[in-house]
């Protein structure tokens, strides 16, 4: 296994042997010693962003020092100089030809803290660690956005692979940064041994993220015993459960099951359990639900997370648990109904919908959100119930088609969509009745447009007569402008589906 120390020694040795090692010129040393801050900003030129210094001494260093001098300054005793040298290299026109990745391993243990001043409106970074900066700026190992994230600098694929292999196989002071790249990392056979060795050594539990990606049965015990961050950190941390996301196996499930004490309040734990979609995972989910029911504080969030995981990974095997969840927590508006539940328990959901329709606020909200699926279900089962359900939903429209829609608005739109598509004569009289009662003229215009789409001359005549007999209810040009915009959005959206 290559350690950071070995790598840096090799690199420095290479520099010496190739004759690149040079003394820093006195004038450059003077500039470096005058540096007392790191102040940067970014700008866009020719569609490319770049970092630039806001400090004149830093700028002078960048312009006057050679690349070799700047590389040497990345090992300066002062963290301010090391960081300035890093950003100076990033701003050099020849940066793509410099082997910048070779600088990173020397800073695997560089925990000196640095204060980075950004622009007045971007705030500062007051807790940056130098080693973390080298990893982030050159290797892009974090997922938080900083000015340098937008520097348009990216290592070539080959250089990135090299740096990945060194970083992932080394124990560093910044192991936590490994969790971000692990998501997209593809296992490479040549790294298997060093990653396994690192995990076995007990120095770096983050190595389990990478080892899990090899999906080897023989490694399960090792992975299970060395989960990342496990034991001393916040149990809500999603990264603990990443190895289970990367590797599904009956023995991994057993491991997951054994961690229930630590995971039963964690969304990612639920997700990983539900992924198995079998009897055993249903049993485990059921036992989690029993624990949640007994919970006091934070029950709402945990229930929503539990429902979300079940909904995402829904399978018929979870039907009973989901129905139980809906029964027990009727007040939780975050719980949605998985589409597949309609396939197996449509009648039960229909009954629940009619109960919820007359229930509390949250229940009514849930009932209206069920509307589109409920219509689909009724369409295949009972047409008379469907028609009366639609008529019960003929209501004033939301203000904007693409604006925020609450459950009631969504149900109203779903009802009008059904009328528009089916053009069932059953709806004509209720729509004419609505024309008499709706106070907003823009809505009356919309309804008249819906009636017009029936394409029936007798309906058009009835509309003409209606507006003649009720001139106070006739929409005006301004109402048509507003209602027409809504109708246009409705028309295009309905056509798309």
């Amino acid at each position: 296994m290559l350690t950071a120390k070995k790598i840096s020694t090799i690199f420095l040795l290479c520099l010496c042997l190739s004759g690149l090692w040079s003394q820093i010129r006195p004038e450059i040393s003077i500039i470096a010693n005058r540096l007392d801050r790191v102040a940067i900003d970014s700008e866009v030129k020719n569609h490319k962003s770049s970092i630039f210094f806001r400090d004149s001494i830093s700028l002078s260093l960048q312009q006057k020092a050679t690349v070799t001098e700047l590389i040497e300054l990345t090992n300066h005793v002062s963290p301010v100089v090391r960081t300035n040298a890093l950003f100076a290299l990033l701003g050099r026109p020849e940066r793509d030809s410099i082997e910048l990745q070779m600088l990173v391993p020397q800073h695997f243990s560089d925990t000196a803290t640095i204060f980075i001043e950004m622009t007045e409106n971007r705030g500062n970074h007051d807790k940056a660690k130098v080693g973390e900066l080298f990893l982030d700026v050159i290797g892009r190992y974090s997922d938080w956005y900083m000015l340098w994230t937008n520097s348009s600098f990216k290592l070539t694929e080959q250089r990135q692979l090299w740096l990945d292999s060194v970083f992932f196989c080394s124990n560093t002071d910044f192991n936590y940064l490994k969790k971000f790249p692990s998501r997209s990392w593809k296992p490479r056979p040549e790294l298997y041994a060093c990653i396994r060795e690192l995990l076995e050594s007990g120095q770096d539990n983050y190595a389990s993220l990478f080892l899990a990606k090899y999906q080897q049965e023989a490694d399960i015990e090792l992975i299970c015993g060395h989960l990342p961050i496990y034991g001393n950190a916040n149990k809500r941390n999603p990264f603990i459960w990443l190895p289970f996301q990367y590797f599904q196996h009956p023995d991994m499930f057993s491991c997951l099951k054994s961690k229930i004490e630590d995971g039963w309040q964690n969304l990612d734990y639920y997700r990983n359990v539900a992924k198995y979609k079998n009897e055993e995972s249903a049993e485990l989910m059921d036992s989690i639900l029993t624990r949640i029911i007994k919970m006091g504080k934070y029950k709402g969030t945990v229930t929503a997370h539990f429902g979300r995981a079940l909904e995402e990974e829904f399978a018929p095997v979870f039907s009973d648990i989901y129905l139980k969840l809906l029964h027990i927590f009727p007040e939780n508006t975050n719980l949605k109904i998985p589409d597949k539940l309609w396939e197996t328990h449509g009648d039960t959901l229909l009954q629940l919908s009619s109960i919820w329709k007359n229930g509390g606020k949250a229940e009514r909200e849930r009932a209206t959100r069920m509307m589109p699926k409920l219509l689909e279900y009724l369409q295949s089962k009972d047409s008379s119930a469907l028609l009366s359900e639609i008529v019960s939903r003929i209501k004033p429209l939301p203000n904007e088609y693409f604006g925020y829609q609450n459950g009631d608005d969504a149900a109203t739109i779903a009802a009008y969509t059904y009328i528009y598509r089916s053009k069932n004569p059953y709806f004509i009289d209720p729509l004419f009745h609505f024309l008499k009662t709706e106070p907003l003229a823009k809505n009356r215009f919309f309804i008249a447009k819906i009636l017009q789409t029936y394409g029936d001359p007798s309906i058009n005549k009835r509309l003409t007569d209606f507006f003649k007999d009720h001139p106070d209810l006739a929409p005006r040009l301004v109402d048509a402008e507003e209602g027409g915009k809504f109708y246009a959005d409705f028309f295009y959206k309905t056509k798309q589906k």
Partner: protein, 234 residues
């Protein structure tokens, strides 16, 4: 054969074609296409005439250029167009109308969703090379209802001759802004265009674009409105 006949029928108009290209004084790459109103053409011929003026304009479809002109199946667009022209001429005078009012390919619009037919003129006050006011006539015809809306921003030169005089051009407005608003402070001036009340919509901004003031300058009188400070908070 049909296409040939169509081209042949509009050929005299093409020969009379007069298109104007007006460029933004702040950005010469921003150019708008306008058409001088042909006095003797009916609406359907005008539309064909506009669509065929610039063969290089790819946003005009083949069917628009060569297909049948279906202006509206509810109203006589020819009559409505004549009526709008007459209305404008009554307010501003014939010479003023043909000198300063323009059309373009968005001037005739039949909106099937709102059931409103719109005829839109682009009014460039005398001396204004790029800035214009949209003078829009609308007609709503639906299920026995028929309502016409005339533009509120059409000046009436016949009853008030000063209302058609706009001496404060963009250049003059800039001079006024510099003298009366900027007053040697390190600020620049940006013009958004003309408001419907014929006022220049302006703002000053600092070099960092973080603060400044909103204000208007009356294009008829040059009067500067009260300044409204702004400060970005993002």
């Amino acid at each position: 054969m049909k296409t040939f006949l169509l081209i042949f029928s509009i050929l005299p108009h093409l020969l009379l074609a007069q298109m104007e290209y007006r460029s933004n004084p702040d950005d010469s790459t921003d150019v708008i296409e306008m058409v001088i109103i042909p006095p003797d053409l009916k609406a359907d011929s005008v539309v064909q005439y506009i669509y065929n003026l610039n063969p290089n304009n790819s946003s005009i479809t083949y069917s628009q250029r060569f297909g049948p002109v279906n202006l509206s199946n509810k109203i006589s667009v020819n009559e409505f167009y004549e009526w709008t022209k007459k209305h404008c001429i009554e307010r501003v005078g014939e010479r003023y109308f043909y000198d300063n009012f323009r059309l373009n390919r968005h001037s005739f619009k039949d909106d099937l969703f709102s059931e409103i037919y719109e005829i839109r003129y682009y009014f460039f006050p005398p001396g204004f090379s790029y800035d214009y006011q949209i003078i829009s006539f609308k007609r709503f015809v639906f299920m026995g209802l028929d309502e016409t809306q005339v533009p509120e921003n059409l000046p009436d030169c016949m009853t008030e001759s000063m209302s058609c005089s706009f001496p404060i051009t963009r250049e003059k407005a800039l001079e006024i802004a510099v003298a009366q608003v900027v007053k040697k402070r390190p600020l620049k001036v940006y013009f958004s265009g003309l408001t419907s009340e014929y006022k220049w919509d302006c703002r000053t901004y600092s070099e960092s674009h973080w603060y400044g003031e909103y204000f208007t300058i009356d294009a008829r009188t040059g009067e500067v409105s009260e300044l409204r400070q702004y400060q970005r908070i993002d």
